[in-house]
Symmetry: C2
Subunit: 237 residues, 2 copies
């Protein structure tokens, strides 16, 4: 890893479809830009509550707009977003706390990279925002982890770690604290929603909210924006 | 005007700095893209109230983000946005109803184009979002109109038309209704804030909220996005 790489932190939660767009774009551009991407799974519910923000879906015209906006962006970004039958139940009743603790546990145990975190996150997004499947039950998390290529033994450990009732408190507390700490970090950077991308440039931080500031972000970090699907021909890898 | 031109309506209010960005970008691209731009001055206060939306500035972290976001976008878009000393007074106490009625009056009387509407709108934005000046008093509107190149006699007429106490009700009512009608049109298109750009493509409408969907909009109307400052060399005019 070159020391000249700019560090970019991506705060996200799989409950947020706009985070999925931001996640896929950053996962693509990590191979094109001279950056070190740090995936920062965090808890959107905590950010909304602490910042006093309200979900955009609560305003009917905003909700209608979001559905058509996401449909258009899904095609343009080539990310297979589809609305669940009951998005309010998915987002506000079932939520993502357990799922994000599970992702935090994956990150805690993964060594030498973040491939597992990337894959598990993607599978969880796919479950709720494409296949309209649950992400709250242990078997749901397990299915996502299997698809992400994690072994059965490892999945059992991860479930124990991310669910306090399955393991002694001290270990699961570590995972709870990890997710809480990431969420607090996001708030310290000024988050009021996700995705939140924090670029560390020349000793300064520049935070970008949403999945619609990539062109400006590229400009700020001295890279070139080539749209949400950068040409593979020019990949550095 | 070629019949193949795509009609694009831009709903805006000078109280909104993001609308200024959208306005300048669309005013630039009207010379680059095969479009007919229709300026639709409207009243943001009405849209917020009717849609049940809350201004983003009410959430502290959002407000902080907006200030740095606008500062960055201002440079990148080359639009001289600066925050007034008391943005809350400007946006929520003083508001823009009279100013937007004045712009509606300019549009009502302008024949053969929208140069005056464009210039007056820009001068009003410049007053609040660059020079921290009032836009509620008749003399403020008059100053903006002078800078926009409108004659003294015409300005007097415009002030009368846009302020009911200066003229008989029926005429000023026409202007009130014009602004109200534009605001209702925006709501019918699903607006919950400004800028709102409505593209008419192949008998369908595609609405884009904010000043961060131009790349997607270009894609939808079959044009090329070249950033907020398209090269003058390739201008069609």
């Amino acid at each position: 890893m070159s020391s000249s790489k700019k560090v970019i932190e991506l705060f996200y939660d799989v409950v947020s479809p706009y985070s999925w767009l931001g996640f896929e774009v950053m996962c693509r551009y990590r191979h094109f830009w001279n950056i070190e991407l740090k995936l920062r799974p965090a808890f959107l519910g905590g950010v909304m509550q602490e910042s006093g923000n309200k979900p955009p879906g609560m305003v009917p015209n905003k909700f209608k707009y979001m559905t058509s906006d996401l449909q258009r962006l899904s095609k343009y970004f080539d990310v297979p977003i589809g609305f669940p039958a009951d998005p309010f139940e998915v987002m506000f009743q079932k939520g993502s706390l357990r799922a994000m603790r599970f992702v935090a546990a994956v990150q805690e145990r993964e060594v030498g990279g973040d491939k597992q975190v990337e894959k598990v996150s993607r599978e969880l997004w796919r479950r709720i925002w494409c296949e309209d499947k649950d992400i709250t039950l242990p078997e749901s998390l397990s299915e996502a982890a299997v698809k992400a290529g994690i072994s059965a033994g490892e999945i059992e450990e991860l479930l124990k770690l991310s669910q306090s009732r399955l393991l002694k408190l001290s270990q699961s507390q570590q995972i709870k604290d990890k997710l809480k700490s990431s969420t607090e970090n996001a708030l310290e950077y000024g988050a009021f929603g996700f995705p939140m991308v924090v670029c560390h440039v020349n000793g300064k931080t520049e935070a970008f909210f949403g999945s619609d500031r990539f062109e400006l972000m590229a400009h700020c970090i001295g890279e070139k924006w080539e749209g949400p699907q950068p040409s593979k021909a020019s990949a550095k890898l």
